[in-house]
């Protein structure tokens, strides 16, 4: 069963709706002991990364999250939270994966936010991307991105600059796109995560 970290960063209706469509059972994590009920953890997130980090810190769940050995998936801002640092509000993040979250430079990537369907190139064949076509389209909405890193980037995307669409370190995963809004490809990814 999937546990969703409930720290008040944005709306998760679409995410829970997608899990329901896929018949994937889930519940909400509000306290440290709640983590014990679930074998997969999702950290959702929309909005401002600095604000999201502050809210997450306020829940008191940060030490527990960092100590997890179960598969953890950060989505969008939830992915940015597991990096070291975000330029959004110059904020320290969870420091789980040693990469940085940077802002799209408008001279390189003309339109910010990067909004719409873009192609994801899988860099490392990990089970999270099983059965997903090469250059499959996923839905992105973001103004900040995670730098490409040869060690931790498992899938990348191009938007004026090559950036991380997916990252992984041990049991921690992050995707910049919204699988819950990415049609069939997104649904496959959520199922893959549930069955890791």
């Amino acid at each position: 069963m999937i546990g969703i970290v409930n720290y008040g960063a944005g709306n998760i209706f679409s995410l829970t709706a997608a899990l329901e469509r896929l018949d994937l059972k889930y519940g909400m994590i509000n306290s440290e002991t709640d983590f014990d009920f679930y074998d997969r953890i999702i950290i959702p997130g929309v909005g401002h990364a600095g604000t999201a980090m502050k809210k997450l810190v306020d829940t008191g769940l940060v030490p527990k999250i960092k100590s997890l050995t179960k598969p953890v998936l950060g989505i969008c801002v939830g992915m940015q939270l597991i990096t070291d640092f975000s330029e959004e509000g110059n904020s320290k993040m969870l420091e789980i994966i040693p990469v940085k979250t940077l802002r799209f430079n408008e001279e390189v990537s003309k339109k910010v936010p990067h909004m719409g369907w873009n192609q994801v190139e899988v860099q490392k064949n990990i089970p999270l991307f099983n059965d997903i076509d090469t250059s499959a389209y996923f839905y992105f909405v973001h103004s900040y991105f995670i730098e490409f890193n040869s060690k931790f980037t498992v899938a990348f995307c191009n938007y004026g600059i090559k950036f991380s669409a997916g990252i992984q370190r041990d049991n921690f995963y992050g995707v910049q796109f919204h699988p819950e809004k990415s049609g069939e490809a997104g649904e496959i990814l959520l199922k893959n995560f549930a069955h890791l």
Partner: protein, 251 residues
């Protein structure tokens, strides 16, 4: 590459779609959820629902509709119509809407754009602009083109982006309903002027019009209603044709 988006627009009143719909295999043409599902299956990249419900009480029906759409559709969608306060927008966000579009409320009180962007992020705020060409320039119109404002279209869009509009849905009232093609000249001018995505609207009559709008103005998305609803243009065929014309598209 970021794909150009094809967006069907559905008019909704009291939780039901209005305007004729010409789909085979459709059990209930008035059901926005079923229609949305059909469009998503056909390859629509995104959907816009324009809520033309008159009264405040009936907006509860809209919220229920938004929830049903979010439960069943796996692509993003925008809700527009009658949003004038933060709490309207918040209710829609919590019901699963990805974006909201505002129009006359922003003209009446431009600070609304700042408030929405600060509260929910710029990616949530679409500014819809209805524009008409007059002898003295392009001007913003309200109420489906019936009311002329003193706002110069280019100036208004520039201001709105500075205030926090994350996307512009530009409808040419000169072209709307004519099926004579999008206003590619104005769209190009606006698209070159701002750094947020632009959705072209008004005038779609043929598949060629979509090719033209992407090739000539380079907008990010094109929206249409009747040509899709009446089956005059089929989305899978349209997208294949765009792809054949070297336009980046998600198939």
């Amino acid at each position: 590459m970021l794909a150009k988006r094809i967006i069907p627009c559905l008019d909704v009143k009291d939780g039901r779609t209005v305007k004729g719909i010409n789909f085979v295999d459709l059990r209930d043409a008035g059901d926005p959820v079923e229609l949305a599902w059909q469009y998503s299956r056909q390859g629509a990249d995104e959907l816009v629902f324009l809520d033309i419900t008159a009264t405040h009480e009936k907006r509860k029906t809209t919220i229920e509709m938004v929830k049903s759409v979010a439960r069943q559709i796996n692509i993003p969608f925008t809700i527009g119509g009658g949003i004038s306060e933060l709490k309207d927008a918040e209710a829609l966000l919590n019901a699963g809407a990805d974006k909201i579009s505002i129009n006359s409320a922003a003209v009446r009180r431009p600070e609304l754009i700042n408030e929405l962007a600060n509260a929910f992020g710029v990616q949530f705020v679409v500014l819809a602009v209805d524009t008409k060409h007059l002898s003295s320039g392009d001007f913003v119109h309200l109420n489906g083109g019936r009311i002329t404002t003193e706002l110069q279209t280019q100036q208004w869009i520039k201001e709105a982006v500075e205030r926090g509009a994350g996307e512009i849905l530009l409808t040419s009232m000169d072209k709307d309903g004519t099926k004579a093609g999008f206003d590619t000249i104005l769209l190009k001018e606006i698209n070159d002027m701002i750094s947020v995505p632009v959705i072209a609207s008004g005038g779609a009559g043929s598949a060629q019009d979509f090719i033209d709008v992407f090739q000539k103005s380079d907008v990010d998305a094109a929206l249409a209603a009747s040509v899709f609803h009446y089956g005059e243009i089929l989305i899978p065929e349209l997208k294949q044709l765009l792809k054949n014309n070297q336009i980046e598209i998600r198939l």
